[in-house]
Symmetry: C2
Subunit: 127 residues, 2 copies
């Protein structure tokens, strides 16, 4: 169960303190930069598509199981906190442009340099 990065995020967001907590809370546009060996996997990605971007939140604390100081204590699986045992970010974004190995997306709250591990189209049930 070892993930391999397929690319990384290029974003003006550089630290957790300044990042919005969710994409719809003022997150900026960003680039997804694919590694050359995954270029074939990008075919048919196009502007206007809604996709789920999965990231590896590499600055997360994986030891956290509950969020405090909430009362009652809330387990991390009932929150979207990046601090969790498997810190996989799920970001719903719209593709704005595709330029070679780079995909421009709207409203991505992931930090600059964050590894990208998957991109999937949004399904009807997720709209």
């Amino acid at each position: 169960m070892e993930l391999q990065p397929i690319g990384h995020v290029e974003s003006p967001l550089t630290d957790r303190a300044s990042a919005p907590r969710q994409g719809d809370e003022g997150a900026p546009e960003a680039w997804l930069v694919f590694a050359p060996e995954y270029a074939r996997g990008m075919r048919e990605l196009a502007p206007g598509q809604d996709v789920l971007v999965l990231t590896w939140l590499d600055r997360a604390d994986r030891s956290v199981l509950a969020v405090h100081p909430r009362r009652p204590e809330t387990g991390v699986f009932a929150t979207r906190s990046p601090d969790r045992p498997n810190p996989i970010g799920v970001h719903r974004v719209t593709i704005l442009a595709v330029e070679g190995l780079k995909v421009r997306v709207a409203r991505l709250e992931a930090l600059d340099g964050t590894p990208v591990v998957d991109v999937k189209p949004v399904l009807g049930a997720e709209r």
Copy 2:
């Protein structure tokens, strides 16, 4: 970037040939069975909540980058195929019951024994 299973799926689905391709295509109810060391992370999960379940699709072919025989060839990142470099399943389900370390969910297309790696609440933008 090593994932640790937080639990596994208990489902009547036992092989890919008989599994629906998506949860809204006739998938059955299933249990998410958490490992005891993650029990604290489950607090505040409750019936009626919509959650994203992230699984590790352990029977996937990680070498696949494009889907054939589609023409034009479609990259895996423009599909929901389980065969992809990082085979993380994203399943939107509704919680039906919570019983100790087990969470009953509706319409999960993951196979019996599939490792669960994360559970997150659905956000407004994902509805």
